[in-house]
Each structure stands twice: as C-alpha cells, then as structure tokens.
Assembly symmetry: C2
Homo-oligomer: 304 residues x 2
C-alpha cells in the first residue's frame, strides 16, 4: 500500500475498499456533525445509527436521502443515549462511536464505566490526531492534545504504540517519531527529556519494530531539515517527522490550536484505548474536521 | 502614536526618530548576525560596537562601509568579550547588548554575575517575543518561549508587566492579554489556571492600568472571534489578542517553533529584566529575525 499523504487520498482509499463502517452517533443535533455525517454518506464510506432525540431527522432532512444507510434510535435523555451507544459498540453492532453535541464529560462517563464501558482494564486512554498542513509535505500525527496532562513513561510508550498502529493503517512502513521539547538537550529539569532517552534506547533495541524514534528535538528540527543543519544536529528524523509526541497537554494543545488557526491546518482526531475508535471532536472543530475524523476512524477500525 | 502593526512599520517608525541606538555585539562571527547588523546600518537605526576576535571586519567587509557607525574591540577570548560587553552596557556606553555566535550560557553567565552583571537584584529574567504572522491582522506578542520553565504567580505577573511596557512602546494603548490554556475551564489539576483567576482579578481591580486581561482561553479563542462564538465564550479579548501568556516553556516554545515554520511567522525577541534590552537569538533564527530583534530592542531601549 502506498502511504496516504493527505485527506483526499484517505477518502479515495476508503472508497476503493467498498466496505462501509457502522457508526453510532450520540446526539447529532448540530450543523457541523450533520455536515460530517452527510459527507460520509455521500462518499459511501459509512452507515449511521443516530441515537438521540427525535428532532434530528426533521432538522436535517438530507439524512433521509440515504435510505438503508441511516437508522435512528429515539432517546430523549443524552446520558441514556450515551449509555445505549456504548452498549451497541461494546456488543459489536457499531464499529465506531461518535460524539455529537452531548457534553464530552457525559459521553466519557459512559465510555469509562468499569462494568459497561468501552475501555479494557489497564488500557491507557489518550488522544491521537493527524493534521494536513498546507506547508508540510505529508500528514503529521501528534499526541496528546486533549487527554493526559503529563504522561508518565509508561503512558508515553503506549501513546507511541497507538501512533505506530495508526501509521501502519495509513501505509507508513517506517514511521518517524519525534519526541519534542524546547531544545535538543536532555536535562533533569525536564523529567520528560529523561524519559525520551529511555524510549530512544528501547527503539534502538528494536522494541517498537520498524520505526525511527529520536528526541528530544524541537518542532522545527523535527519537521525541517534546514533547522537541524544550521544547529549542527544529526538526527535520523532528518526534518521528516510523521509523528510528534509532545511533552505535555499544554504544548500538544498549543500545537493543534496554533497550526489549525495560523497555518490553516485541518485535523482528524480519535480517542485511543477504547475497544473501538471514538470520534470526540471539540465544539469548535469544523464540519470538515469532523468528517476527516470519521474517515480516520473508518480506516483504523478493526473490522472490514 | 498609531500602533505599529507589522515589522515594516517598526522600521519606518525608527527611521522617523532620527536617533541611533548603540549596540554592543559579542562575537558576531556568523552570516545571519552580519545580515542583521548590516541591515540596521543601512536603515540607519543603530551604531555598533563589535566585540570579538579580529576576523570579524575582514570576514564581513560590508561593515567597513559605514565609517563612524561601527567600532571594534579586539578580544580573542569569548568569555572576556562577553564580560567587556556587559561592562560597557552596565556603564551606559551601549544601549543594547546582542549575542553573536557565543554560546548562550557563556553570555548569560556574564549577564547574571551578581557583582558585575546586568540583572538588578530581585528582577525576574524572562523572554518576550513578538511575531508577524501572515494570517494574523497585527503583531502578536508572547511569553515565555525560552527562559522560565514553569512561572510562579509572581513571575507571571512580572512577565505581564514586561509585555505591557513593550506594547506601550509599540503604541498599543490598551493591550489585550490572553492567559492561554487548553480550555476555558479553571481546574486545580492545572495550577496555572488558578493563578490566571488571581491575575484577572488584579487586572479588573485596575492593578495593571489600561489593559484587558482574560483567561484561561485557548490559542484559537484568543486570536479568532469565530471560535469563541461557536463555543459560546464571551471574553473581552474577543479573538483580538495582542499578547499570549503561555502556561509553561514547552507550550510557548511549541507556539514559536510551529508558527514560524508552518505559518511562516517572523519573530523578534528580547530578554526581559536586564538593565538594557538583550538580543539573544537562537542559532537557527534567520538573519531577518535577528534584524527585527535589533529593531525591537531599539524601540524599547530607554534612552533616546
């Protein structure tokens, strides 16, 4: 498989599979979600199970134009809708779970329920996103902009594994993973830089398979060869990173918000850890971003 | 004075003052510093005192074309050059100090010397930068991408004061200062968000004079009105921030590196706290960025 280098290629690839994923959407009562769902229906990459109040189909008549591909479960109470969607995903009747305008905490509550939830015991819950940036030559994955404030070494190792699995789905044979920091110096003042040393050693010992992992590297040196050259930094990443692992949630979130706003980057993002991909967009994400997240979920969901 | 909205206006404004600042440069033996110094000489905004080995004028003959505006002090040892430059700045014979290719730590050592240095006792040392971003409608100040890993409340208050003073020099009457975070929620999980509440209260009580301070706000909501509208967030910043204060050095540095690379932002930056402005560029900064830093220093240096 050729690597998928932008979101247009992602859609083309999914269409070429002629296999629709089934997505349970909780409370899809907003126009950005409607755009994303309608687009996915038009591209023919997914079927939808809309769980929520009965106003959805009336409000968004476009959804009625795809008979056989949209079902509706009427549940007026958002928490009840969340629990039902999680139950359906848990039992395998949906491949993907997606948040509409229900409050994130309410949906997470249902996902994290120890008895009836979607997160296997001991699994690390984190967020992985991928951005198409007009000024970068390929897709750029990054983690974590949304869930873990300050990852431990073990959590960071799991974040890297999730990123590697996603890269494989995107056809990237040897993902280049940069462990980012302000500088290239390791210092006890920054405990994550010490963790980076451990991770690079694990990677060099073959622990992560066919990947290139290096750090600490700053964002510029990770993504631009010239920066490394000027600073005299020799890294196997060589300014060609596929994945940026951020030191903490503040830096990951700053990357996402700054690059989406100032460099017109479009993002797809998924929760990692649950039994199935979970699309958990934030309210200010564009309709396009929500559609790309659906597409990323369709690509990385297990069942075909 | 009309607000200075981009770096071209900054140069025009400085030229209109017909007053040259005097800048001591330590070890200017690199082409990016040469570009910056030559450009400042051509614009007529500064005179230079080059402190370092005797090769500088031979290596960069353009500097000889401005007789009366470039002096040279020959000191082969970089540490000695740093101490001499600091002494000259301390005694008022230079208005601005600038780093060439001497190691940052070596110059900082001279600046921070308790007896003979440039930092008054009790003053907070931090970094303030300003970026011209093609997709933003005005200059955007930010702090701290380079010095303080995790600012305390008191340090953050000083950072805000430095930013306010710089904004005044740029003609911004009522600076809009956003205290950035991942979300708009205050949470004890993120101690800086609690500090933000204190700072907003101080600002509302008039402590900082004629400014607008709000937070926590994410970077998008700080700089784009539409994001706030979608999320239903009412903030006096209104997506029109002049200044972003970052929670920690990792997020500030990520902002700087990401926006300069992916959104083609050009940056000027200065150390804050010392008796005179200190231009302390990093090795990978462009010649243009070093020139803009000189211009920012000329504008904010006290003496005219």
């Amino acid at each position: 498989m050729e690597p998928i280098r932008d979101f247009a290629q992602l859609t083309s690839h999914l269409k070429s599979l002629h296999s629709r994923k089934r997505i349970a959407v909780v409370c899809a009562n907003d126009s950005h979600t409607e755009y994303a769902v309608t687009r996915a229906l038009e591209e023919g990459i997914a079927d939808f199970l809309m769980i929520g109040d009965s106003a959805i189909l009336e409000k968004y008549p476009a959804l009625r134009q795809h008979p056989g591909h949209v079902e509706m479960i009427h549940l007026e109470d958002p928490d009840e809708a969340a629990r039902e969607a999680v139950r359906i995903a848990r039992e395998g009747d949906a491949d993907i779970l997606m948040k509409g305008i229900i409050n994130t905490d309410n949906l997470l509550h249902a996902i994290l329920d120890k008895e009836k939830g979607l997160l296997p015991k001991g699994k690390v819950l984190t967020h992985l996103a991928v951005m198409e940036i007009p000024t970068y030559h390929k897709l750029l994955f990054f983690s974590d902009a949304a869930v873990i404030p300050r990852p431990t070494l073990q959590q960071r190792i799991e974040m890297i594994w999730y990123a590697i699995h996603a890269c494989r789905h995107f056809g990237i044979e040897q993902p280049r993973i940069a462990l980012t920091h302000c500088t290239e110096k390791v210092s006890p003042k920054f405990p994550h830089s010490l963790d980076y040393v451990n991770i690079v050693e694990l990677a060099e010992a073959g622990e992560f398979g066919n990947v290139i992992i290096d750090g600490p590297l700053d964002v510029r040196t990770s993504c631009e060869q010239e920066s490394g050259n000027i600073k005299g930094i020799v890294s196997p990443i060589n300014g060609d990173a596929d994945v940026l692992i951020f030191p903490n949630i503040e830096s990951g979130n700053t990357f996402y918000k700054s690059v989406s706003l100032f460099a017109r980057g479009e993002m797809a993002g998924l929760l990692q850890g649950p039994l199935c991909p979970v699309v958990l967009p934030s309210r200010s994400d564009s309709g396009l971003s929500k559609y790309y997240s659906i597409a990323m979920a369709c690509l990385t969901a297990k069942k075909y």
